[in-house]
Symmetry: D2
Subunit: 335 residues, 4 copies
C-alpha cells in the first residue's frame, strides 16, 4: 500500500518510518512539508523517492493510495477534503480541527468520497490501555461503575505554544476524553471540570490552565474522572483504573528497566519513561497496522471520524464547565 506522508515534523517522521520500514506491506512514495528541506531530509534518511513542499500535488499523485496527515491542526480539514476528493484513504492526526463546523465539513467530504478515514488516537493501541479495554469488553471486572484516568505530562509546552494551543482541554485532555469513551464503550452526557494554574503563572498570563480535574457522567451510568497536570517531575504519568461489579483493573506506567535497588536509605527504582514518543512507541506502529488492515479488508477503521469529533465536543463542554462552575451537558454544545 503506497502512502504519502504530509508533514515532516516529529509525528510525521515517526509515521514515515513506520510506513517505510516497520510494516512489511506498506511503502512511502512521497513526503511533503511546507518547509521543503525537512521533507527532503526525511526522504533521504528513509529512501523515500519524492519530497516536496507542494502538499496538494503530493496528495493528488497517482502512486499514492493513502495519506497520513501530520501537518498543523489548522490545515487538517483542507487536506482531508482534498484527499477525499482525490479518492485517497486518510489517516489523520488528532484533533481534526478545533471547530465543529469545520470538522463536519471534513466528515461530509470523507463520507461522500467513501474513503477510509482514521483518527490518530494512538493511545488506544498502547498495550496497557488495550488490555484494560479488553477486560471491560470481556466482562472480566463485571459491569463498570467508576473510571479514573491519570494523565500528567512531564513538563509544560513552551508558552508560545500554549498561546495558540486552543487551551489545555482541547490540546491535552482531548486524548483522555477519547480514552474515556474507548474504555467504557458508552457516551459521556455531562461534564464537570475544575481547573487551576499551579505549575507556572506564565500559563495563566497566556490565558490557559495547567492543572485540572474533570468528572464525566456516562450514558450507561459510569462516573469517571480525568486528572491532568502539565508537570509531573517524575516523568510521564499515564494510568487508568476501572472499577466494576466484578472487580477492578489498573494499569501502571512503563519503566526503562525492571530493577529495584535496596540501600540503607530506601528501596527504589528508576523513574518511568519521560518522553511520549518512547512511552507510546509501540502504539504508533499498531495504529497504522490497524489502518492498513481496515483499508485492505474493507472493514471499519478502529477510530472513526465520529471518534474524532466527539472529544472536541467534550473539550468544549469541559471548558464551559470551568468557566461557569457548573456541570455542562454535551447537548449544550452546538458549535
Amino acid at each position: 500500500m503506497k502512502f504519502a506522508v504530509l508533514g515532516a515534523g516529529r509525528i510525521g517522521k515517526i509515521h514515515a518510518e513506520t510506513l517505510a520500514l516497520r510494516l512489511p506491506d506498506t511503502e512511502v512514495t512521497a513526503i511533503a512539508d511546507v518547509y521543503e528541506p525537512a521533507a527532503a531530509e526525511t526522504a533521504a534518511s528513509l529512501r523515500i523517492p519524492v519530497s516536496s513542499s507542494d502538499t496538494l500535488a503530493v496528495i493528488r499523485r497517482d502512486d499514492v493510495e493513502a495519506v497520513a496527515i501530520c501537518t498543523s491542526t489548522d490545515t487538517h480539514v483542507q487536506y482531508i477534503i482534498e484527499a477525499a476528493r482525490a479518492g485517497k484513504h486518510i489517516f489523520c492526526e488528532k484533533p481534526i480541527d478545533m471547530e465543529l463546523a469545520q470538522i463536519d465539513q471534513a466528515l461530509e467530504a470523507v463520507e461522500k468520497a467513501g474513503v477510509q478515514f482514521q483518527i490518530g488516537f494512538n493511545r488506544r493501541f498502547d498495550p496497557n490501555f488495550a488490555r484494560v479495554r479488553r477486560a471491560i469488553e470481556e466482562g472480566e471486572i463485571g459491569t463498570p461503575h467508576l473510571l479514573h484516568i491519570i494523565s500528567r505530562d512531564p513538563g509544560p509546552p513552551p508558552i508560545s505554544y500554549v498561546r495558540v494551543s486552543g487551551g489545555m482541554m482541547i490540546d491535552m485532555t482531548i486524548h483522555d476524553f477519547d480514552m474515556a469513551r474507548f474504555l467504557i464503550g458508552s457516551e459521556v452526557e455531562e461534564i464537570y471540570a475544575v481547573a487551576k494554574v499551579r505549575v507556572d503563572p506564565a500559563i495563566a498570563e497566556a490565558g490557559d490552565v495547567d492543572t485540572a480535574l474533570a468528572v464525566l457522567k456516562f450514558a450507561n451510568g459510569v462516573i469517571g474522572t480525568i486528572d491532568n497536570s502539565r508537570k509531573a517531575v517524575y516523568g510521564y504519568d499515564q494510568r487508568v483504573e476501572v472499577f466494576g461489579s466484578g472487580g477492578k483493573i489498573e494499569s501502571d506506567n512503563n519503566y526503562p528497566n525492571s530493577a529495584f535497588v535496596s540501600t540503607s536509605r530506601s528501596v527504589y527504582r528508576d523513574l518511568p519513561l519521560n518522553f511520549f514518543l518512547e512511552r507510546y512507541k509501540d502504539s504508533y506502529v499498531i495504529e497504522l497496522r490497524a489502518f492498513v488492515d481496515a483499508v485492505q479488508n474493507g472493514t471499519p477503521v478502529p477510530v472513526s471520524g465520529s471518534d474524532g469529533r466527539v472529544p472536541v465536543v467534550m473539550a468544549k463542554a469541559a471548558r464551559r464547565s470551568i468557566d461557569l462552575d457548573r456541570p455542562v451537558k454535551l447537548s449544550e454544545i452546538t458549535a
Copy 2:
C-alpha cells in the same frame, strides 16, 4: 489512667481490649451497655471489675477518669455532656451527631468543662495514611495539587441499617472527608458530588445510594476526589494518592501475606484484607495511645471536636450537591 467504656458492641469491645490489655498505663474500671449481658460478657473476658446497664452511673464513678463512648450515634451528645459535666476526659466514636445544633451543644459542654475530647477518626493513625500525611507535612512531594481517595467497602451493610444510617455521605464518606482534611491540612470550601445506585436496588428503595464520586475544592487550591462504593468484590479497598509540585505519593491496601504465585494462567496474589477491624487493627491502638498521651501531658488531642464537626458539614454539602446537581459551598450549610 482509669477508663470506663460505654457500649459493648464491636468497636466497644476493641477499645476495651486495647485499654485493658494493650496499653501498659491504662485500665478499664467499668463497662456499660444498655444490654447488660453484653457488658458482663466483655467484663468477664477482660477481667473488668464492673459491668452495668446504667451508663450514666458508670460515667459518674469516682474511679473513672476518662470515658470511651462507643454507643449508638444518637446517644453520643447526651453522654458527652454528662461526662464533661462530671469532669471526665472523653474519647468519642464518630460521628458526634448527625445534626450540627446537637454537635455544637456537645462542643460547648466540653469547652466549658475544660476536659480533653478526641474523635475516633482512627484512619488517621493507620501507618499507610500516616506516612502519606508525613510526606505532605515534610514537603517530600512539594506543594500538593491533586488528591485522590479510593474508599470502597467489601459489601453493603444490611438494608435495615441503611434505612437509619443517615445516608452514605454521613455514614461512610465521612471518614474520607476527614481523611481529605487530614492529608491536605487545609479546609474544603466547595463540594461537587455525583451518586448512583449500582450495587443493589434495595438501597435505592431505602432512599440511599451505593456508588459515589465527590470533588473537593480546598482553600489552598488543591483539587481532590473521593471514590466510594459499597461493594468491592476483591475486598476492602482503601487507597490514597497525592500529587504535588515535587512528586506524588500513593498508598496501597494491606494483604494477608506477601506471596506471589506464577502458574500457566497468571501471576497472582491473595486478596487484600477484607474486614475493617483487621485492616485498621493497629490504628485503634495508636489512636488511644495518642489520646492517653494528650491527657497525661495536657497537650492538644490529635483529632479535636472541630475535626468531628467539619466532616458532618461536608457530608451535608455533598448530599445537597447530589440533590441539586451543582457544586455546593460549605458556607451554604447552616444547619
Copy 3:
C-alpha cells in the same frame, strides 16, 4: 492452661505476654529467671503471681501444666528432662542443644514421659512462609524442583556472642534448615556449603563466618539453596522462592507501610522491617496457639522433637562441608 515461663530475656518476655494477655485460654502462673529481678519485673508488668530464680522449683509447681523454655541453650536439655519427669508439657526454644547426644537424652525423656514437646521454629507460622507451604502442600505449583531461601540479618551480633554462638550454621542458618524441610516436606540428604568473611574481620578472628551459601539435595529430588549474610544494610531480608512443574511461588519481606513516593530522582518506598521481633510478631502468637491446641486436643504438635534434632545435624553437615570443600551427606554426621 497454666504455664510457667522459664527465662525472662527477650523471647521469654514475648512468650509470657502472649500466654498472659493474647491467648484467651492460657495464663502464666509463674516466671523464672536466674536473675531474679528480671523475672520479678516481667511478673509485675504482666500481673503474673509468682516470680523466682529457682527454675527447677517453678517447673515442679502443681499449678503449672506446661513450661515454655526460653533460657540459654546450654540449659535446655536439663529443663526438658526435669519438666518431662514432672509430667509437664514442653514448649522449647531452638536449638534443643548443640550436641546430638544431649538432644537424644532430652527426646528420650520426653518420649518416656509421654508429654507434648514443641520446638520454637516460629518462622513456620509466619503468614508469608505458611502461605508458601500451603501452595506446595496443595499442589498449587505442581511438584517442587528448586528452592531458594534468602535469610539475611540486618546486622551481626556482638563479637562476644559470636564467640560462644557455636558458629553461623547452628546459630543462624538453623532456622533456614528448618524452613527448607518445612517447605519441601522431604528430608535433605546432602549439603554443600561455602562460607566467607565479608562483613567484619573481627568475625574471622572469633573463628566464624558472616556470609554463606548452602546447597541442599533433598530425598525427593529437589535442589535448594540458602543465602545468608549477617548484614543487609536495608533491613531484615527473609524471602523464599519455590519453583515446580506447575509454577513458582515467591514471598517478599514485610514493610512498615505500603506507600510509594515518586520524585524527580526515583520511585521509592521505606525500608522493610528491620527487627526480627517486629518482622515475626504474629508468628510468636500463632506458634503458641498451635501448641496449646495440640495439648488440649491430644493431637501431634506441628514442630516435633525430631524437627528440633534434624536441623542440628544439617548445621553440622554444612559446617563440615565448609571445612572440607566438598558435599557432605547427612548420614556422615554421627555426633
Copy 4:
C-alpha cells in the same frame, strides 16, 4: 558499514533486519544460507541485493566489510578463520565452538588478522541486566558478596536438538556463565553443580539434564548461584539479584502490559513474555549498535573473543562437577 549475514535461520533473520532497517548507518549487501531459498526469501523481504548458498564466496565479496555469523555452531570456526583472512570484521553468535582447541584456532586467526571480533552474548545489552551491571560498576550496592541468576526456559527444545546440543551446560547455562562474569566483573575460579531430570524422562534418555543448580566461587570472593530449568510453565524467567555491602539490586521479568486485575478470587496480571526473541528484542539491536561503533571508532568490542572462550571452560567445569559430585576448579579444564 556493509554487512554480509551468514545464516538465514531465526537469529540470522533478526540480525539481517536490524542491519538492513534498524541501524541508520549499516546495510546488508549479501546473505548466505546453505539452503538457498531461505537466503533468497530473507533477501527479498529486506531488499538485500545478493543471496547465495556459497557462504565462503559471500564472505570474500569486496562489498562486504563485516560478517554476522549466524550459522550452526559447528561451522563458526571455519567462517571466523575465513573472514579473518579476508580482513572482515566479525560478529559471531555464541558459542564460538564446543571445543577449546577449535576456539583457540579461531581466536588466533582473528588476532593475526587484526579484525574486530564480537561474540553474541546479547543479554549483556538487555536494559534490565545492563542496569544491574551499572549498579555494581558504580558502587550503588557497595562491594558485591552474593549473586543469584534465575534462568528458566518456557519449554524444552525438541529431543532431536537435545541430542546434538552438547548438553544443558554448554547449550543453555553458557549464557548465565557469561552473565555471571559480566555482572560481577571478576573471574570464576571454581564451580559446583548439581543437575537432575525433572521435566521430561526423554531428556535423560538423550543423555542430558533439564534442571540444574550451579555454585560459582569468584576470584574477588563473591559466591554466586545459577538456577536453570528447561520448563517454566509461566513463561521465560530471567532474573538476577546481587547483594553487597551497600545493599542489593534485583531485576524482574518483562511483561506484555502493566495491568493488574482484582476479582473476587485474586489479584493477578498476565504472564511474563514467553518467547526469547520478544524478551530480548531490544538487546539484539543494541549489541549490533555496539559492534558497529567499536569497528567505526577502533575501540574495543564489549564482548571479546576471550569472553566467548571462558564460558565454554565454565560449562566444561560445571559438567565435570555434575559427573564427579564435587567442586571443580576452572584450572582443571585443559581441553
